[in-house]
Symmetry: C2
Subunit: 348 residues, 2 copies
């Protein structure tokens, strides 16, 4: 297994690590943030490891990743007169860890926070890298800051609280980390799919890959953009379907489709062999169902890729694969090429 | 004159410096934030130095240093599709520079901002040190982050737009910097009072003093607390009178009274001689009118000092003078002592 930073604890012992951290003398009041799901499904597993604390709950769902929810958290901190020694423990998926991180980073110009991600997606992705934020005016993570938590406690026991679709959604990011940086893991570990008994080593490798990339480029000026693989097309697809009642898909489902499209774009440029493209497609379709759209929609979906935060002006900067296990960032592609890749995906 | 960082430009040439900065190729869209006062009084002086830009205006006054005003700014940035190359220029007093700094530091996890402080208070205090923030639930600067602007442009020409009371309010911070760190300036420069022809050297020394202190302790873990001199009692007085219609006083007026009270506390502990205390009092009363309250109110005012952000639990940590030009932070004092100091001030 790859090594992770000391600040990240992975495995069934990680809640004991949390307990230990919260017992340190420099820790003042403890606040625990959950959403309306994790307060029922996850908080009970955690409770016996926690000292006296104030429980704060926000409604579950991306539609509540808003300033209004932040106000709810800041209100609680203010009412309890939380001072600079207070610690906020965020228990939940990406919405809770991103929003809680932002609230902590901005309350009295910053109190400490600990991430306890409870979905696979948050465990391998959202809780590492120091990105905090909320949605604003329909734009994802439009308002936020970069701030590292003091610790991330990842207990795979929480994954039992997820349904299969949510689990797969997180798994897409695991696969992404293999494709951009770990050819050996892709070769040997993909056979298991999501039918995994012990998630700890898989999560640990995935977190370690992300940490290596983030540490080399904390402010996303270059290398870190490789983490965007699958997301240029994936985000466009996710945004498009989000606006159509009943057609919403999960983030990882969109990213899985996006990775196929962007692998095809990589192959078109001669960066990926036909055999590599085939092995990626075959594997992803063995785990993820095909995302449904019609040919007529491909242009409208592709247009949405122009709005990505990583673009400068009208150029779309995409991350492509340079063989399995290696990625190239800032590869300019056109809206037309994205539409073509979607039509290719549609025909598969 | 003391030296200031390159990022700070002081004098009538500073707007040319701003013009130069905004012409750099790495600068994308430019946004200029004003309030309803500075858009009339200051923006016209600035306009010819600015490239094409979007003007954003918030209502003037501390009561608008709120999340709602932030939303107004974030909305404009979002509507104009500001990307990571955008720069926000904040033109105004402390409310505009603090709030604008916070909006920039959090928009898309941080765009660059330039401070153009237009009040003496903001010029010597609010625009240096990387503190950004807004008020929340009646608490000043409850939500915010530490983030340095890329540049601070201080043009004393703007001071002509201030009335005498506002000018004096900023002058209190100049005096504070002398008392905590610059005995020579206190000895030689106080005779002029606020009847100063060329403010540039005064501002430059004051900014340099603050920078030295902030650089030694950017996150306020120790030394930086000396900047709080006069503010423990001052904030309590300001907060108390703010809640009483028609009795509100300006920040600097409260700090001037607070400096007298805290100098008296320093003298009580043998840290300041009777002659030093007398010279501080005589000078401050030559510039500032006495703040009006009755003896009956001193306990209620003193109680408010307990709520200060810098306290830990029920101890009030105050900054005291160890002779003129030297300060000691984290000096524990009681509510009773604060009430006594207010009664002393009242008798003067």
């Amino acid at each position: 297994m790859k090594k992770v930073d000391n600040s990240v604890s992975i495995g069934t012992q990680s809640l004991e690590q949390l307990q230990h951290l919260l017992r340190q003398p420099a820790v003042g009041q403890v606040f625990v943030l959950t959403d309306s799901n994790t307060v029922r499904n996850c908080y009970p597993l955690l409770q016996r490891y926690l000292p006296d604390h104030t429980l704060v709950e926000i409604p579950a769902g991306e539609e509540f990743k808003t300033l209004a929810s932040c106000e709810l958290v800041w209100n609680q901190l203010t009412e309890k007169a939380a001072d600079r020694f207070a610690v906020l423990v965020n228990v939940g998926g990406g919405v809770v860890t991103d929003l809680g991180g932002f609230c902590a980073a901005t309350y009295k110009r910053g109190i400490r926070f600990i991430q306890v991600p409870t979905t696979l997606l948050a465990q391998v992705d959202a809780s590492v890298g120091g990105k905090t934020g909320i949605d604003f005016q329909g734009f994802k993570n439009q308002i936020g800051v970069f701030q590292e938590p003091v610790s991330v406690c990842i207990d795979p026991t929480f994954l039992a609280t997820l349904d299969a679709r949510q689990l797969k959604s997180g798994y897409a990011e695991v696969v992404k980390h293999w494709l951009i940086a770990d050819a050996a893991a892709f070769a040997t570990q993909r056979q298991e799919g999501v039918l995994i008994k012990d998630w700890s080593p898989i999560i640990q490798d995935s977190v370690a890959t992300k940490q290596q990339i983030v540490e080399a480029d904390p402010l996303e000026s270059g290398l870190r953009k490789v983490l965007n693989f699958g997301h240029t097309v994936g985000h466009a697809l996710e945004s498009y379907l989000l606006l159509q009642a009943g057609r919403e898909i999960l983030h990882g489902e969109a990213v899985a489709a996006g990775m196929i499209c962007e692998s095809w774009l990589s192959a078109q440029r001669g960066l990926l062999s036909a055999a590599e493209l085939d092995s990626i497609e075959t594997f992803l379709f063995s785990v993820f169902e095909k995302v449904q759209f019609v040919t007529m929609e491909t242009d409208a979906i592709a247009e949405l890729a122009l709005q990505d935060k990583k673009n400068s002006g009208s150029t779309i900067n995409c991350t492509l694969l340079d063989g399995i296990g290696k990625a190239l960032y800032d590869q300019p592609i056109t809206v037309t090429e994205i539409a073509e890749s979607l039509r290719y995906y549609h025909r598969l």
